[in-house]
Symmetry: D3
Subunit: 282 residues, 6 copies
């Protein structure tokens, strides 16, 4: 692991922590605009500028236990080696009965974490917030890519256990696959999640947030901006709803700071992570 600035208030040691943050600065399969490798560190840097206390939930990060392990050392240009390192870290965190909270990096990094979570929590459901369906069977000939990651997840956990929110871009093949196999909610986020909550109660749940589920107005610093998304307020409200579920893993991916001189994308990411920690770490 590579050390660095920790996420705000995460001064705890690993032993006593209920949740463990780690970053994966990988963006090798990105086809359009690279730069998400800088996401984890930028999210941590800007996190010191927002409050540990959430007015939304009336809870404070200083009241829960979590730590920041730093970044997984990626093997530049080598996808399989990097993903296996990510899986090893996730396996360890889960084996110690802690919640992994992962900062991307491109979306493909979710795959080994979800794999580790499913190994430990059979019957896992995955909540996927994204502008893109990420359901291609292959992308430019590669089976493992940011554009295929949720297809690979569906291969493992079964499409009926995959819940997709806010999708507004995909191919016709992806749409047809989604309509047949997954719980597919194009455009919608908060209302759709609220309808799904009863079915999710009591199940182990993994949450994967691609920051581009937000409209580019709210999150311009991302690799493939897609107009027509939701506001950061709607996403924050959705994250609060996780408090009623048994969340066993969480990731936030695709923050690419170079495209956002205002840094508001990283700030929004930090706020989402704060709200998620406050909602799911008891």
């Amino acid at each position: 692991m590579e050390p660095g600035i920790p996420f705000m208030a995460s001064r705890g040691d690993y032993e006593g922590s209920r949740a463990a943050i780690f970053g994966v600065p990988m963006d090798f399969t990105t086809s359009f605009r690279p730069g998400t490798r800088h996401g984890p560190q930028r999210i941590r840097q800007v996190s010191v500028g927002i409050e540990e206390y959430s007015l939304h939930q009336d809870r404070d990060l200083r009241e829960i236990t979590f730590c920041d392990l730093g970044d997984v050392a990626v093997a530049y240009g080598n996808v399989p080696v990097t993903l296996s390192r990510v899986q090893a870290v996730a396996d360890g965190v889960l084996a110690d009965d802690k919640l992994p909270v992962v900062l991307g990096g491109e979306h493909l990094i979710s795959l080994p974490v979800i794999g580790a979570a499913q190994a430990r929590y059979p019957g896992l459901a995955v909540l996927h917030f994204d502008a893109h369906a990420d359901l291609r069977d292959d992308y430019l000939g590669e089976a493992h890519s940011h554009a295929t990651v949720m297809r690979r997840v569906a291969d493992r956990i079964g499409g009926r256990n995959l819940y997709q929110y806010g999708i507004r871009s995909g191919s016709r093949d992806e749409r047809e696959y989604a309509e047949r196999h997954t719980n597919f909610h194009p455009y919608e986020v908060l209302p759709a999640l609220e309808r799904d909550l009863p079915a999710l109660e009591g199940r182990p749940v993994y949450v994967s947030v691609d920051i581009d589920v937000l409209d580019p107005a709210y999150a311009p610093g991302t690799g493939t901006p897609e107009p027509g998304g939701v506001s950061s307020r709607e996403l924050l409200l959705a994250v609060e709803k996780l408090a009623g579920l048994q969340v066993v893993g969480f990731d936030l991916v695709e923050v690419s700071p170079g495209y956002d001189p205002s840094e508001r994308t990283a700030v929004a990411a930090a706020a989402v992570i704060r709200e998620a920690l406050l909602a799911v770490v008891k």
Copy 2:
């Protein structure tokens, strides 16, 4: 014409195409912040990053025929010569019974295209989406300017054939002119268009979209940002409504990439053009 990167999926030849895209990289009359000359190429560049398929309409650009002619060679600093070249290209496209789809550049470039369309389609109605009324009689002494373009259009087609949506800035003279002469819908876009649709059915319609009809949150890369606009989702939904009309020409103007490091303005423009092509090319 100047060659370059084509708009996504526009690999067709001119002969077999129902629509022909061309750019006009002119920004000479811009008074505040130049740079829209870079709009056409940037829109094309980012277009490769979005899908040819539209989840909104369940249609795919690969299912229709269109081509990209490149950019009109502008005469730098010479407005009359440049506009006459634009008109010649538009005349040719319309004479070949194709739909011109024009990428600006500043808004003044719409004038010769609309002139060409009206010559071919008498009784033309113009739908104008914009933050600014563009109805001045002259601007700093010039009769032909980005700020006078719709007044010149009204001179030609008659104000009652001009429909204006989303306007939130103008002088008192412009407001009075609009209220007396045009179909003037300040602030509103989608609801107003839906009310107008019945009156527009069966008529030849030209559509001119100034990207600044969007709020600067959604389209920061433009010359004269004006707060209080609509979201990209609302504009995309409005463009889908064009499917029920007989659209004979379309332009999208005033993308100025230099003010938007996230490139989301150009991406939104590319998405609007994709939706327009899918809606109006049968």
Copy 3:
């Protein structure tokens, strides 16, 4: 005072003006990202790109009298000296029965202006639009800071005379103080203001707008962006409501142009000031 480009249309002389604009380019107590010292000049520069006429209110800046005094000469690194100079200018403007309209700079500069206003108008109410409560008793050991400014205001005018809108960030202490002492409206802006209007009628009112009350999508150029805010349209509508009140002072603070290459934050600020001038200067 330092001369410079004046705010649009403010060509009047001081004697004949009902309102006097001045800037305070101070950002010394800013802890996260400095740069608001460039706010006043940037707001003025972009102001020439928007209309003097407001479509919203059907009024024109050329119909009212106001002047632009330029910027207060700040003492770099010396907070007490700078604040005393601000107070001296504000005292003079108020003594001449004019409305001070102040461009920040960081939020701490509101304190001496509000102090001067209260000295002249006992029973003053303060309307505070902001993402942050600014109610800390001290900040990193300093009693006078951008993060404590409204606590100091409450100390002077009494918490019950402080009305706070749009707040979405603070510590638990601030929340408890606000709930006990001030008129505290988290998240809400326009609806809450409308409910408060009857109670405010007839009272002298000071208005302090931190531009970060807007969501960072609408105002990315600010020091501490906080997701979940309101749109510029909502803020403009709120400012129009001031027409029914007896406003005796106004400030707009925390525009930090360096984080916003689109300049839309400064444009939004200029539009808010235009609407405020048109609403409150009779």
Copy 4:
């Protein structure tokens, strides 16, 4: 004329001034990257950050008399009208026996100023510092363009009265023209000027500096950067040499601030102008 921030220390009134600065924010014939219209104001803004005193010359701007008239009001998109306005201002300044010091804007604006200078000072020599020869007979069909300006100058004053320094880009036609007709010094600046000084003594001299004579490392904020240029130190030393000549007019053009977030291009321009004023205003 448009008012604005004045160049540093230029508080003098016109009557008592030996030199008069004015800007021409025109960039309509620019073919590659517009933006020089923002040059005059940016040069003035950054000028407040450098000293009035020159260590190089041991002279101070406060010891000479000059004023800043602001910017000529350009007719956007209309080159002939704009140039005739520039000529009118230059004629007036020269008629009042003052030195015009002009801030561009694109290089074409030098043409009317040089024309005015030649009308008043027959036998004028022009010193031209530039990366580009600017000697085309026409450019994309236009006879008046930034790329033809020195050919037009040579048409008027005779090529043998044109001295060109630092040129490192041109067509073969331009090179052949230069070698036959002008005093052509490719690559060289200071050494070539020193060799020419004896021949220039006693003659009326006009100096035109295109900032791109500097290498783009020193002046990245310009429209057509060309590698292989001189350093700012060499240019400053060359400007000091003007002290021995009878300079009757001076311009500095092609600063395009949008390409230089460091602002050092505008700072270098301000320093060059300071040194020129100190060298030539007695």
Copy 5:
């Protein structure tokens, strides 16, 4: 191959061309700052802003034959597949007795091109212009990386056939390897090349230019800027010296446009390629 804007003046067809340009937009093994994938297209875009004619050499690109094949389709995240595609294209170009001129992309892409060149031209010498020695045996465990590329080249062609210019950064191991095995010229470029020219005459020569051999003042748009480099003028003069050699392949790598808003890095790269084409294509 992916089509796009061609390099300036490269309108020729492949059959009749002596040289063939192609790009490799790969940056997967970049460890510090990605973005060189955007290099090839940006170099082409800015190339239209400089002259086809070289004042340095008195030659014109329109007098030689070359074509632009576009970019090799890279397999995102898959290094071996991408490199094999590059090698296939290079093999084909060389088999047709043409000169490959390659635009990077990261430096690792030189490896398959040099491999192809050596297969066709036994006894190949490689001239390597770079700030970094690129001689590590492995980098973070990977044998194929931008930091190991010249070690792999030395493995193939023998270190005594590798000539390195301008190196100013490396590990002690690299320095010791270089001093024992390669022709190692730290800091120096033009003088060292001039000394080596006699030994290189008559041999087949491949030239690999990492743009960071220039000081970051001249080429800020690169992944690993290293202070203390040479000027663009010195590099251009060095490239002219290639006219006396039998150059059989050429690449220019590591242009990362996102770090250079002035675009002068890409302009310098385009000028270097123009000079190289003019020097080596007879």
Copy 6:
């Protein structure tokens, strides 16, 4: 002290270290363009991208002992409190017989460090590398400012013990003071230092480097860029010369990353610090 990313290779503990790095993120007295508070962290961040080994000196940071203490906690807007904290840290480091290596921040932070060094090492000489003389007696009424810092140093150690290199900007008063009291070397750096070395041998020496001693071409990310400076190569060579002196303290100030998207200013600063550590830590 505030923790953060450490400077490269500085993994040592304090006890065993010969040198101790610390940052002072203060920029309150900056009058022109703030932002040097971000200098210390940015220098550390980019430091991981350059080698620990110096080709220049054939030495490696891993062969010497040093540590990174993080940043002094500044009191925002409170200059006296912040400076006293800096002095306390410097006193402690010096009392433990270690070399303080300080990262700014604005230049005023050098004052307490030099004060601490002089208290411990009477007869201290100060080497001052800067574009600006920093010798004003007061600046805008303040005696303690970035523009007065070396005057205050001269007050303490005596002007004859102050050696100034590379100065190219100042007022006439500063020049006269310098010529009478200090060892003043305008424009020159390396040659002047070499002449002074014999006189400095054996004395305790403190070195203060304002990064703007470099030309803005090499260091654009600074608050007050001044054309006409030296290259990074010359500065690096000058720093190597320190190996022959008894250096007891070192600082590098005025890196303002926001003005340099290429980050080469911070990279140059990191390289200077590496060379300084290698030269002076035995």
